[in-house]
């Protein structure tokens, strides 16, 4: 895309819609214990809200929302959250990704496992969001030059 859309209507509309998509994506991630959803779906919706601004606004504007240089490091952080939860459980005496052994003693064991699921869903959502945005950024990079 050589130039972003010149129309202020499109920019205004996507600026209004984008936060609601983002909010719903967060809801899908954090409510995945009780309703359909989870890290992958919620991460895709967060990516949709970011890409909407990227399509409609110019680079100076969308760099304010989510910097290009954060794409790959945050994706790696998402994978590391998942791996880290598994490794902590392994270091504290359980199997890999056995949430029973996470260091949260003030809760009953079933709740600890629910918290472990929540942690890895956050990691998955972060990785999916940033990687989808990173693929878009890298595909468009040459045309901008």
């Amino acid at each position: 895309m050589k130039q972003s859309s010149d129309s202020p209507i499109i920019l205004l509309l996507s600026r209004v819609i984008s936060p609601y998509i983002m909010l719903f994506g967060l809801y899908v991630i954090f409510h995945g214990h009780y309703s359909p959803g989870g890290g992958f779906q919620g991460g895709a919706m967060l990516a949709a809200s970011i890409l909407l601004i990227r399509i409609s606004a110019e680079e100076k504007v969308y760099e304010l929302q989510f910097k290009k240089s954060f794409d790959i490091p945050l994706g790696a952080l998402g994978v590391l959250i998942f791996l880290g939860v598994g490794l902590i459980a392994m270091l504290l005496g359980g199997n890999f990704l056995d949430y029973h052994f996470l260091p949260m003693d003030w809760m009953p064991k079933a709740d600890v496992r629910a918290m472990g699921i929540l942690l890895i869903e956050v990691g998955v959502g972060l990785a999916v969001m940033t990687i989808l945005v990173a693929i878009y950024d890298n595909l468009l990079e040459d045309e901008d030059a």
Binding site: P36, G86, A114, I120, E121, L139
Partner: protein, 102 residues
């Protein structure tokens, strides 16, 4: 030639429809896939999940507790696949690398 193509398509479609008539109804307790004990006498994993998933993980959504807890290693693999795709795009397409080679 075209007639053979289309007729074979229709034949395969009819075969699939005929085969689907033999499938068990959803939620049929007599069907083999819904039994607690499999054909060879071993317990079936899905019945364990249905009976114990809420007690084990305190999560009402069984799908989430299976994907995130019992089968989390598989989910880790999926996430690594997505991350690998992003890294490959970054390595192949990023601008800094191209300017180095030129």
């Amino acid at each position: 030639m075209k007639i053979i193509n289309y007729s074979s398509l229709v034949l395969v479609g009819l075969l699939l429809i005929y085969a689907s008539l033999g499938l068990p109804y959803r939620g049929d307790t007599e069907a083999l896939v819904n039994k607690e004990i499999s054909l060879i006498g071993t317990p079936v994993a899905s019945s364990y999940y249905i009976q114990n998933a809420y007690k084990d993980t305190n999560t009402p959504n069984i799908v989430t507790s299976i994907l995130g807890d019992y089968r989390s290693f598989d989910t880790l693999g999926e996430e690594v696949v997505i991350f690998t795709a992003g890294i490959i795009c970054f390595l192949l397409l990023s601008r800094e690398r191209k300017s180095e080679t030129k």
